[in-house]
């Protein structure tokens, strides 16, 4: 299939294709980080993760409408405020949900699965009632649209670069929170031994709430960023949830490094195969490979060694 092309064309295509893989990688990491934190640190499977993302998207939509109407001069930079607001909104809702629902179910992991699934249905219907069943369009500042032409053929999408940079900073941020801050130390202590952590004076309930809120807040940021590349509608969260779970489970549930590694593996495999095969076949092969590897290694790519 390459016979018809010159070497420069081929080089450009490989460069663009590599970049497409990297963008997909960033998108996957951004989607999966929040879920991985909650699943890994708390053992709660949050089926409503996609809906928290869409909350972020709707907050961005409201911001864009508000700024367009009342402060058009800010329009170029509103997106950053929208992301912060999305984090706050999704995080607050997360804290509320943890307080009212999740904390009663810590000893019943299967029930959290059902409860959060119910929550996702409630949120979907709430979005539908508030914003309408139709998808809404988020107006983006012009500098986020379009692409940077490097050569005649290679063009790098600006929103792709934006997502990559954002993911990088969020990953660094999560690393610092979990491994370099007092809150992170407490969180890890609770994961390793909840009773002992409580005995030395860590408020385990507070730690749980903060962890859950953090995971949901990151989902909110992800949703806000995805308004650039995807749709904003009541059920759009469902489009992401399968991939997100796949990544977290494949990476090893308790390991953030595993999440990043599995995002990388799946994104590269998928984008390469999509180029050589058709879209549906690429998906089928990716899923088959993941299933195969998980049969050989049920704990995922990386697993945390802790005493149970």
């Amino acid at each position: 299939m390459f016979a018809d092309y010159t070497w420069t064309e081929l080089g450009s295509i490989f460069a663009m294709q590599g970049f497409a893989g990297l963008i997909l990688f960033s998108v996957f990491v951004l989607m999966a980080l929040g879920l991985a934190i909650i699943f890994g640190q708390m053992g709660v499977i949050n089926m409503a993760h996609g809906e928290f993302m869409i909350l972020g998207a709707y907050v961005t939509y409201l911001c864009s409408n508000f700024v367009e109407a009342y402060a058009p001069s800010f329009f170029g930079v509103y997106f950053f405020f929208a992301m912060i607001l999305a984090f706050v909104a999704a995080g607050s809702l997360g804290a509320l949900v943890e307080w009212s629902l999740i904390r009663h179910l810590y000893k019943r992991p299967l029930d959290t699965l059902l409860a959060t699934w119910g929550l996702s249905l409630i949120l979907q219907q709430a979005y539908r009632s508030i914003f309408g069943a139709r998808e809404v369009g988020v107006t983006l500042p012009n500098w986020l649209l379009g692409s940077v032409p490097l050569t005649d053929i290679i063009e790098i999408p600006i929103n792709g670069i934006f997502v990559m940079v954002l993911t990088f900073f969020i990953a660094i941020g999560v690393y610092f929170i979990l491994f370099r801050s007092r809150m992170g130390m407490q969180t890890r202590a609770v994961v390793q031994n909840r009773v002992m952590a409580g005995a030395v004076g860590i408020n385990t309930e507070k730690v749980d709430r903060h962890t859950f809120a953090l995971g949901c807040g990151i989902a909110g940021i992800a949703g806000s960023a995805f308004t650039m590349i995807g749709s904003t509608g009541p059920t759009a969260g469902q489009l992401y949830i399968v991939d997100t779970f796949l990544i977290v489970v494949f990476g090893g549930a308790a390991s953030l490094l595993g999440t990043i590694a599995s995002s990388f593996a799946i994104s590269q495999a998928q984008s390469t195969m999509e180029f050589f095969l058709s879209g549906s076949m690429a998906k089928v092969l990716t899923l088959l490979t993941v299933v195969g590897i998980l049969m050989l290694r049920p704990q995922g790519l990386f697993s945390l060694k802790i005493r149970r």
Binding site: A20, L24, L110, E135, L145, I153, G230
Partner: protein
């Protein structure tokens, strides 16, 4: 897991018992209340009284398809209200019973049966996806109902119990491809679609027609419903340099596709390549954003911006009824035709009986349709014009071409299968 399973089973059986009781009760009631008058226009026991007639509206108002089907429900209600304001059908006011298919095909079949058997409606306006239509088809044929189906679809179907008010594939596709080949000198095409029956069948017809014209298909691709990452296929398109991207992407994927196409530097206003779609109506553009799809062409039978008296009155009435910020797409207009076509057929037949309405249907004309003149073909589809629209930043299409004659519906095109 065991507990989960038990729980679900318990729920299910309880619900089944409940449903059984309820339907038995309604059946008994319906039997007791069956009217014994209005015999002359209704020999088959439909829900027709001296001054009312019942019809059904069957769309998804919950679930994933609610996004698309809302417009159809609004259009059908508007048509029914307008007909009632004009005095109804054969002097009877139309009352509608609305059921929710909930984006779930078995539910559609169940509700269709409820409407036909329990409510004895004289006609049903409904369904949107081909899957839901295929699910209700056996029900309509078994209980002899009449369905008015509004969506443009892949064809390969012709039921005595369905009137198809949207275009079937050949009407939409052939005119569109002829136009880009003739007016834009297009020679190579890249076919792209979501992975299910409508895009696949449509692309099959498109490919046959492109090859018949002596042009080339340089790629054909399908992506799962809900796919949100199109960067790889966009790279492939850049590599193949087709004259036309022929896109039949649907649902949420649409939004992702057009946003990423724009971000990847494919400027559709430059028409290199140009993009022709048959799946994006004004409804979808609201989610995509006009600035992301500016310059794309769509081949359909109706655009909200059509400049004729019928359409201006329709758009005005629609906005008065459902709000100023609403947009009207191709399917919404086709749904609006349903009640009017039914009214015309009933009045021609002088009866609500399904068999008589069916016999009266072919040849029914509508001169007041927003899209212009339409006529029902022997094969239960509509003769209609196909139009090409150019997408603008405000989310509307500007019509730049329409076929001179009505396109004949041909649900079983020879040599295209």
């Amino acid at each position: 897991m065991r507990r989960l399973k038990n729980l679900i089973e318990n729920r299910l059986s309880r619900r089944a018992v409940l449903a059984g009781t309820v339907s038995a009760a309604t059946l008994a009631m319906a039997g007791a209340l069956t009217p014994s008058f209005a015999q002359d226009v209704n020999t088959t026991g439909l829900a027709v009284t001296e001054d009312t007639v019942k019809v059904g509206i069957l769309h998804s108002v919950t679930g994933t398809m609610a996004i698309s089907e809302t417009g159809s429900v609004q259009a059908e209600k508007l048509a029914i209200e307008q007909i009632n304001a004009m005095g109804g059908v054969l002097g009877r006011k139309i009352e509608y019973i609305q059921e929710d298919g909930a984006s779930d095909w078995p539910t559609f079949a169940e509700k269709a049966k409820k409407l036909l058997v329990n409510d004895k409606v004289a006609a049903v306006f409904g369904c949107w996806t081909s899957a839901s239509r295929k699910a209700v088809l056996p029900v309509f044929e078994q209980y002899n109902g009449m369905l008015y189906y509004p969506t443009f679809y892949e064809g390969l179907e012709q039921s005595p119990n369905v009137i198809y008010t949207g275009q079937e594939a050949t009407q939409q596709i052939i005119a569109g491809i002829d136009w880009v080949a003739r007016e834009k000198g297009a020679k190579s095409f890249y076919l792209l679609g979501s992975d299910y029956i409508w895009p696949r069948t449509s692309n099959k017809i498109a490919r046959k027609h492109i090859e018949k014209l002596g042009h080339k298909v340089v790629g054909e691709e399908y992506y799962p419903l809900g796919h949100t990452q199109f960067n790889s296929v966009i790279n492939k398109i850049k590599l193949k340099k087709p004259d036309v991207i022929y896109a039949i992407v649907v649902g949420g994927s649409n939004v992702a596709f057009y946003k990423q196409l724009k971000a990847a530097g494919i400027d559709m206003t430059k028409e290199k390549p140009l993009l022709l779609t048959i799946s994006v109506t004004e409804d979808e553009i609201r989610g995509i954003g006009g600035e992301n799809i500016e310059g794309a062409y769509a081949a359909m039978k109706y655009f909200q911006s059509l400049d004729n008296d019928n359409n201006q009155a329709f758009v005005k009435a629609f906005k008065e009824r459902w709000g100023d910020d609403i947009v009207i797409g191709d399917v919404t207009q086709a749904a609006y035709l349903g009640p009017w076509l039914w009214k015309a057929a009933v009045e021609k037949a002088g009866s609500f009986d399904i068999d008589k309405v069916r016999l009266a249907s072919p040849g029914i004309e509508l001169t007041t349709a927003p899209e212009g003149y339409v006529r029902i073909h022997e094969n239960h589809h509509l003769w209609s014009k196909t139009r090409i629209g150019l997408a603008k930043t405000d989310g509307q299409y500007e019509m730049i071409y329409e076929t001179a004659d009505l396109m004949e519906p041909d649900p079983f095109p020879e040599g295209y299968q």
